[in-house]
Symmetry: C2
Subunit: 262 residues, 2 copies
Amino acid sequence: MADSDAVYPKVKLNSVNRLRNRGKYDFATIHGLVNKSPVVHVSFASDPSEPFPTILPMIGQMGSFQDPSAGLDSPLDCYLHGYVSSRIMRLSKEAVARGEDGLPVCVTATKVDGYVLALAPFHHSYNYRSAVLHGYAQPVEDDDERVWAMELVTNSVVPERWENSRTPPTKTEMTSTTILRVKIHVGSAKLRSGGPHDDRFDLKDESVRGKYWAGVVPLWEVMGEPIASGDNSVAQVPGYLRDYVQKQNDENKEIALNAARE
Amino acid sequence: MADSDAVYPKVKLNSVNRLRNRGKYDFATIHGLVNKSPVVHVSFASDPSEPFPTILPMIGQMGSFQDPSAGLDSPLDCYLHGYVSSRIMRLSKEAVARGEDGLPVCVTATKVDGYVLALAPFHHSYNYRSAVLHGYAQPVEDDDERVWAMELVTNSVVPERWENSRTPPTKTEMTSTTILRVKIHVGSAKLRSGGPHDDRFDLKDESVRGKYWAGVVPLWEVMGEPIASGDNSVAQVPGYLRDYVQKQNDENKEIALNAARE
């Protein structure tokens, strides 16, 4: 992290209290986790008449419309797309109409990198990386920002996909697309890597240590061979897609194996 | 589903309104999704002085302490373990002390089965399976239920792991373990499978159809070869673990490929 100011302030809301050495507050770690997750979970108070908050799985990407080339260690907004229920859109619009900053939401991105199997169940754990952001969601109203965010989100699924699909969006597609911009209030990340940490009394007990296997089962996401749709009339899987599948699969595997061996 | 009554009531809180044909309300689908997810996301109102709900990633398993052999199509509670912050535990305890049913929470489990690449960005989608539960969280106070839930959760990571680790828990391990039981109020699931659904005007346009690749990139979780810890003194990866890794990897891949081909 080049810029030492590029961290979220540590306040009560985002402080990692349990196992606090696992907590991280820098922009690059937190924003990077969001951008590498196929899905984020977004929570909001769904209805004043209900005691429950609601969670929606959505696609989320950090970015800056004002400064599109800004890096992960810059202040960024979180753009949300997909599964946009009428409810979260309506609540966001209503909050803005009331002169508020937007709908208060929590956005999380979580990756499990492996199962940590200790001698005792109590010390079983996961290797994982998780990011939590709190902020205010507003609907994106400006057409230029909407198209920019659509490109950001599309290219988050497969890089270069926007230019390799039929663009620009039609007028109907524009009016039917709803995107939320979350202005981030605070954020934090929590990471765990390495093998199991058993108690000394178990490690010194040969009848335990010799009986039960202990270690890490690494876990990662893999993309399979792309399967063309029946309507497809392109002869081969294009290079940008083939390369991405290979590169991302290699990277995912390497992260999980490195986490296990740390 | 043998028992046609084994569904959650469809109320405002859990109704799938957008693309409602993707909605499911049966116990077996919803409970099965939770039990197959390495991680669930749990949302609650974190602090009366904050406008934001908070989300924690946790381990979640559906089960019935009263009827441990109950199937997925039975009424079940959701047991939560891991990442249990003092905050969610304290809030749950306080709610019970006030005579309430517990802390209102939302629990979600999400699997992405593939990236659906259409001709137009607008029709890009994911194949996915997601479950959302709303309910009331209470700390599990009874020791027998706590041990039973610890076994349930441990075996959810790797089947038979409880009997293949050092048990029973020590007194210290028991007092340091916090488990929440969520009594389910309502639940729903949302599923999408199949290839892209483009508009006819794109499908009929050879300059579009011949230029842009369309189809599905299947996505699934894979476990790698188990990596023994430095302290491990068991010569080989045991059979129950090796078999599980192989079986679960095959199942995960099959689900993603089937979803792409539907």
